[in-house]
């Protein structure tokens, strides 16, 4: 995988391996914070930010600390601690220096440390043996793909408020899963018809 072009890595991350719809990573936020577009875009912004940052940090951690010390088997523990610490740090910095950004992203940041999308991206970087540039590209792409899916989902939910749905489906998680079913059909089939 180390020779995959950056464009291929990016497209993989955004569409073919879309984190929410194809790989099912980060579903809690996919059904939890997509009731309106505003909070969905806030969450997406925070996720792009944190995934990119943790791809960078975890690459250095893995290549320069875990590999030379032959501690690869500790990568799950090491990554989760680093991500949790990173999210805390980002929260402090953003709160101190960028109050407007904190007001829009702030409440979503703590949620992210237990979002499987972040840890998933980092672990997939290691599993695919990506180089540094590829890791960062995949991190950004994963974040963008997450954003695409979150925005489509939240727009559908927001605009379909007047649509009739049976009471057993309701407006909650069940409804979100039915939308996700239709969305994933289009995602899964689109790239069979139009190969990249």
């Amino acid at each position: 995988m180390a020779d995959a072009s950056l464009f291929a890595v990016f497209m993989d991350g955004v569409f073919l391996k879309n984190f929410l719809i194809v790989q099912f990573l980060g579903l809690c936020s996919f059904v939890g914070v997509t009731k309106d577009v505003k909070s969905a875009s806030g969450m997406s912004g925070a996720v792009i930010f944190v995934i990119t940052l943790s791809s960078v940090v975890s690459y250095f951690l893995y290549t320069y600390i875990l590999l030379p010390l032959r501690l690869e088997y500790l990568n799950t523990i090491a990554f989760i601690i680093v991500i949790a610490a990173l999210v805390q740090l980002v929260e402090f910095i953003v709160r101190k220096h960028m109050p407007p950004l904190y007001r829009s992203l702030g409440i979503y940041l703590p949620l992210i440390s237990t979002n499987c999308a972040v840890l998933g991206a980092v672990l997939l970087n290691v599993m695919n043996e990506y180089t540094f540039i590829q890791s960062v590209t995949f991190g950004i792409a994963a974040g963008v793909g997450y954003t695409v899916a979150m925005l489509i989902m939240s727009s559908i939910r927001e605009w379909s408020n007047v649509v009739y749905v049976p009471r057993a489906v309701g407006r909650g998680v069940t409804y979100a899963f039915f939308i996700a079913f239709v969305m994933s059909m289009s995602f899964a089939n689109y790239f069979k018809v139009i190969p990249l």
Partner: protein, 211 residues
């Protein structure tokens, strides 16, 4: 938490009221991602069950020593330790399932069920009941993964294959035409959506009868 709890009631609560998928709506990522077949579902649930029991046990033993402000990092480290154990054991003894589950095994760390039970139950309760709770929730999770995995495998491939033994095969016996999409990602969303709608429907019926 009154004194009227018993082992059986604490255990059953994890399967019925606090059922991970339909009651708590937690841990959805593995529920959907690995349920392409019953076998994968069982492998995933067994791993999660072990981590749940281990982390509930350790968190409950340490609950008086853990300072409130840093409890979440400590819980994460405890959970990550058990996940690493599961990761290595599965890689060594069940390489097929390990290859099929891939990245989702290390991701048990961020499975909301595990940290949710540590946070909501093990921090407040004794060792014995914490273990019972972990077994209950873990069993509920196992049943859900087997149910969803079973539905998807039967509809998607037309038969059930368990640990290398073909239990039944509708393709050759009945001329069943498998719905391939059920084993892909849309099938996962459809299965869980329909199951949740059925559960909601029963709840509504019950409420109408009661009120």
């Amino acid at each position: 938490m009154g004194d009227n709890r018993s082992v059986a009631s604490e255990f059953m609560r994890g399967i019925t009221k606090d059922n991970p998928t339909f009651g708590l709506v937690l841990g959805l990522c593995p529920t959907l991602a690995v349920t392409t077949s019953i076998e994968n579902g069982i492998g995933m649930a067994a791993g999660t069950l072990f981590v749940l029991v281990g982390s509930n046990l350790l968190v409950s033993i340490l609950r008086k020593e853990i300072p409130d402000t840093v409890r979440i990092p400590i819980e994460l480290i405890v959970i990550a330790t058990f996940v690493s154990i599961v990761d290595m054991v599965m890689e060594a003894f069940t390489p097929d399932i390990y290859a099929a589950l891939g990245v989702y095994i290390p991701l048990i760390v961020v499975n909301c069920i595990v940290i949710g039970r540590a946070e909501a139950y093990a921090l407040k309760n004794g060792v014995f009941y914490s273990i019972i709770d972990a077994f209950g929730v873990g069993t509920g999770f196992l049943l859900m993964l087997m149910l969803i995995g079973g539905i998807r495998e039967v509809l998607g491939t037309g038969g059930i294959k368990l640990f290398g033994v073909q239990l039944f095969d509708m393709v050759s016996m009945l001329g069943y035409n498998p719905i391939g999409i059920m084993t892909l990602s849309p099938g996962a969303f459809l299965t869980i959506a329909v199951l949740m709608a059925i559960v909601n429907y029963r709840r509504i019926l019950k409420a109408m009868k009661g009120g």
